[in-house]
Amino acid sequence: MNTTTVKAFGTPAAEAQLDQMGINRREVTPHDVEIDILYCGVCHSDLHTARNEWHFTMYPCVPGHEIVGRVVKVGGHVSKFKVGDLVGVGCMVDSCRECEYCKEDLEQFCEKGNIQTYNGPDKHLGTQTFGGYSEKVVVDEHFVLRIPDNLDAAAAARYSAPVSPLTPRFAIGMLAPVRK
């Protein structure tokens, strides 16, 4: 698979500081969107992972799962996005799409495990996935989010991802009794 080397910020080891490095991004496949990253939020998970505090970090590690950027290239079968769109990427970049949970739009509970935006197994390149502390990212369009045009892109970065712990269904559920 063809790849391009892009600038990133990451760490080679738990004890090391984050510094500039090069990482590979794949060429877009038919369902992929290539995103020029404008902003990336900093989550405490980034720190836990960079420092191997959860004991499963694969190095080198490039954190970042609160990504906002512009679409710069789309694969031949992409239907949700076009070049120039303001988009976000959160904690996940893939899942099996076949299990009961994936079919119910609950990819986060994929029976085979969702593929995390960083420190997950990258099925395309065979390495670990690298996150948003980088110039670009290539993601299947299913896992790309639209950022409403009226929102401040930088402020949106914070919640394009874990998207605040308050998921919408949850928030709606919480108010259901009030509406009765």
């Binding site: 600038k7 990133a8 910020f9 500081q17 500039q20 404008l38 902003y39 990336c40 939020g41 900093v42 405490h44 980034d46 720190l47 960079a50 970042g64 609160e66 959160g90 904690c91 996940m92 739009d105 990819e107 986060q108 509970f109 948003g132 502390y133 980088s134 110039e135 299913h142 896992f143 989010l145 639209r146 950022i147 409403p148 045009d149 009226n150 929102l151 401040d152 930088a154 402020a155 949106a156 970065a157 914070r158 919640y159 394009s160 991802a161 874990p162 998207v163 605040s164 712990p165 308050l166 998921t167 919408p168 269904r169 949850f170 928030a171 559920g173 919480m174 108010l175 009794p177 009030v178």
Partner: protein, 160 residues
């Protein structure tokens, strides 16, 4: 974000804090009322009054004191991750048919719905923008909770 979103959804929002210094801040974010959680009389005023509690606390805390604030059929959803188990008294949930639940990230459709909701209501987070070369310093500040409320890296700084 929880306060802002709940307010936009039309809820009467009550914020709980252990620190008086956060009172004004909670109000600024949209809370209708703010309660000092260490003050038993302030807590007692809300016994049996709340439909839902979003528990974002990642440290040890008395979960029963909060379950007691729920109405019948109310639920408390934990999204924080305290290191040690939280003891739940049976009577905190059986009296009043209450639920103690948890949640983490949403699926893609839910996440898009949340972003669209925030777009419609013009809700954004409060952030502090940093250069990528400040990331190590930002991690140290994160450990001291010295950020309101999120660091965001301006990735143009990586291209320089």
């Amino acid at each position: 974000m929880g306060i802002k979103i709940a307010k936009a959804m039309g809820a009467h929002v009550v914020a709980f804090t252990t620190s008086e210094s956060k009172f004004a801040e909670a109000k600024r974010l949209g809370a209708d009322e703010v309660v000092m959680s260490k003050d038993e009389s302030q807590m007692a005023a809300f016994h049996g009054k709340l439909h839902f509690i979003l528990d974002c606390v990642s440290a040890q805390h008395d979960i029963n004191a909060y379950l007691n604030l729920l109405r019948v059929d109310g639920s408390l959803a934990l999204v924080g991750a305290p290191e040690h188990p939280l003891p739940v008294a049976a009577f905190s949930v059986i009296m009043g048919r209450k639920s103690f639940a948890g949640s983490m990230i949403g699926g893609i459709a839910e996440t898009q719905e949340m972003l669209d909701f925030c777009g419609k209501h013009n809700i954004v987070s409060d952030i502090e923008m940093i250069d990528i070369r400040q990331i190590n310093e930002a991690y140290e500040r994160l450990l001291k909770s010295d950020v309101k409320y999120r660091f965001v890296i301006d990735m143009a700084s990586l291209k320089q």
